[in-house]
């Protein structure tokens, strides 16, 4: 089960934080800082999995952004790595840069909610997700 999804930039600013478990606000801040500390120290030579408290973090770095998913210890690492890649390759994010994420952050949340729900991977098919998102966009 996914505990939370975090997108941060190298400086530690949160671009997206989706929590699938109850945390207090200050706990959330602490977690964000800790994840940042753990993940930015690692470079390409390190594995994409880090043990973190009694969970583990699977992260991937794309340009200046770190996409981190925090899961239970006995979950399959490679599957979630693929999920991250799947998420980023989304056609909706056509040539997206960090600034776009900042200004349209609620759209990012929509995409996240399309692909992950209640701590599980919901949809992996790119075509389906894209169709849904275009339909939602037409409603605006």
């Amino acid at each position: 089960m996914i505990r939370f999804i975090l997108i941060q930039n190298r400086a530690g600013k949160t671009r997206l934080a989706k929590w699938y478990m109850q945390f207090d606000d200050d706990e959330k801040q602490k977690l964000i800082e800790e994840v940042h500390a753990v993940v930015t120290v690692r470079d390409a030579k390190h594995t994409n999995f880090v043990e973190f408290r009694n969970f583990k973090i699977i992260y991937r770095r794309y340009a200046g952004l770190y996409f981190c998913i925090c899961v239970d210890v006995n979950d399959n690492n490679l599957a979630y790595l693929e999920a991250i890649h799947n998420f980023v390759l989304n056609e909706y994010f056509h040539n997206v840069c960090e600034l776009d994420l900042v200004f349209n952050f609620y759209k990012v949340y929509t995409v996240v909610d399309e692909m992950f729900l209640a701590g599980e991977i919901r949809e992996t098919s790119q075509t389906k997700v894209l169709k849904q998102l275009l339909m939602l966009q037409s409603l605006e």
């Binding site: 390190h46 594995t47 790595l81």
Partner: protein, 865 residues
Amino acid sequence: MALKMVKGSIDRMFDKNLQDLVRGIRNHKEDEAKYISQCIDEIKQELKQDNIAVKANAVCKLTYLQMLGYDISWAAFNIIEVMSASKFTFKRIGYLAASQSFHEGTDVIMLTTNQIRKDLSSPSQYDTGVALTGLSCFVTPDLARDLANDIMTLMSHTKPYIRKKAVLIMYKVFLKYPESLRPAFPRLKEKLEDPDPGVQSAAVNVICELARRNPKNYLSLAPLFFKLMTSSTNNWVLIKIIKLFGALTPLEPRLGKKLIEPLTNLIHSTSAMSLLYECVNTVIAVLISLSSGMPNHSASIQLCVQKLRILIEDSDQNLKYLGLLAMSKILKTHPKSVQSHKDLILQCLDDKDESIRLRALDLLYGMVSKKNLMEIVKKLMTHVDKAEGTTYRDELLTKIIDICSQSNYQYITNFEWYISILVELTRLEGTRHGHLIAAQMLDVAIRVKAIRKFAVSQMSALLDSAHLLASSTQRNGICEVLYAAAWICGEFSEHLQEPHHTLEAMLRPRVTTLPGHIQAVYVQNVVKLYASILQQKEQAREAEGAQAVTQLMVDRLPQFVQSADLEVQERASCILQLVKHIQKLQAKDVPVAEEVSALFAGELNPVAPKAQKKVPVPEGLDLDAWINEPLSDSESEDERPRAVFHEEEQRRPKHRPSEADEEELARRREARKQEQANNPFYIKSSPSPQKRYQDTPGVEHIPVVQIDLSVPLKVPGLPMSDQYVKLEEERRHRQKLEKDKRRKKRKEKEKKGKRRHSSLPTESDEDIAPAQQVDIVTEEMPENALPSDEDDKDPNDPYRALDIDLDKPLADSEKLPIQKHRNTETSKSPEKDVPMVEKKSKKPKKKKKKKKKKKKKKKKKKKKK
């Protein structure tokens, strides 16, 4: 009025929308907090407006601020207002804000119940969808209870989009409101066979999560999942199912046997690494549970190990890491198959990634045997030298010690080598594990009697070394080793070559810079040394020598008496007085050595860690009985505020119970004294405890070493352990030759013997005899102690609450609570309940009749289906 409206709309023109807010924050990097508090004030103004678009805009901005870390819980009610907007975009913004900021402590959350219910049964699937998504983040037990039924009906919605969401959310609902699991479960099972693959995988996901925590309830679903596994091609689903099987197999070994074949097929056929890894993991889990070990399973193990080796050899760090992780699982049950890959794992120790190194270390921990321990530790020591100044070095140190001290030092054949390793480790600077090394030294010295002489000589060299004193200011630093060194030298002083020299080393002025607890040990052991020196001198009739030693003590002890640490001060002053007294006696030529050494008679043995707990309660002692007569406790607490006036009355009842229980106290005192007398470690109040001195027969335990040259040169400062490795090889070679000779003799004698298991030329671990006679003193436990372990279970674990038996039919009390406006008869089966529910949940809504008609049409469509 008109002016107000105009003014209002002009104001609205200047409202910031989200883009402006973000841009503004980016432009105000220096005074961000001030700018943001300004924005928050503006937002508060906007929220007071009636226009829903304005409110939505404000909430959108608030969500952004929440992401940056600002608290927006004060706006909870406004968020609910936005959630109730009819336009989809606004509703979405409201739900997003709610999902980010609502939690169980939010008071207004119960106001959302009806709104969510409305949205859940809305004709627009997007409204329903967004409500479900938002709900998943902030569902509380109350919400779960109220909405469980609605969500359950949604599981049978026409659109798979909604069905999928509903199924996934049910998991959250189950967590918060476990009573909903039983009624909802049949529906969930149906979804496993849903025509839409997305819904199917969602159902698989949910059941897998549930089964992971409480596997025995879902065993009946195993055949269904088996079918799914063989028919599905979706990797994500397969991974989940295989993981589920991994959780189920410990309970049902037959399932395990059936699984081996399809899993091995998958391992061979799949190209997806993630699936491969999951299969290997599950195969390992199955084989662990099938520990009966049928012959064909060794083939599967070999296959797994082979595949894992491929993973570890891959250049991708992730695969390496996972391979190592899985290998360590195999190690626990099939160590032999893993040991052949030792070279690969030693290679991984050189990897740049720390987590890989740590995994490799863990593996090594399980892979040591008597044969390769020295080699492995040597390799680890080279790593320790390379890893200067990192936490990794500390980790290595703990690991080395762990590996060596495994299972009561099972794998160490030469303790002299081990002590030299420990001494080498003391040369590390800046480590925080000095106490570990110290503990090991103490342990080995106490338990392995044969090694004491060697240990003592090493320790006295340590006491001399200056650099250890240099790090004396660091907490838990390497100077802790001096603690062990001093104690060993003192306790086993009979093995010391030059006790006088050691005594002087321990009395050096620099010693006062050491931490208090180490100094205390120094002081105590100085006296032990002194005693043995006195013994020696008196036997040799060197009265002057004896007096010189006493004078040395008198000269140097005062520096300890002036110490700031209480323990040191007390011990030093006590001993100083004693020594002065001895000095007076010596002046009168009275032989004192015998009495002084009687101070330290007796052997100290290691005590088991649970010994104190296991001390049996002596008969007749009731620990729960009141010692004094119980004053009515609750009353006395109430009386305390009025105690000023009732003080005298309270005092009188207190006196009476104490007199009456004098007898009881005396009885308990006796019982306590008994216990203390039996426990040799109880530190009695008198300074000279009486113990019997047992002479340790030193010579018989030390085996006769064949060649004198085996004793290595003691060159202080140079590593000696390498020489031991060579020595060890020579020794083993010699042993092997001897054994071969013996075996040949035996074979000649028994040519006719029908031996199926003839002795093979390969050495096993047991063939290697240790270099020293290891007389490991076992830990002391009180009599009649039983080994026992208590499980600690967290009473608040939500997963435990889900441990419900699903096979029993539903009872009446377990139906989900439904909102009813009229009293109707309750039906007995859940299926009948459902269509009635659908009718009733719609009636309380005061919506337009059009909606009712639409719903009736929907129902008709369903009935047709």
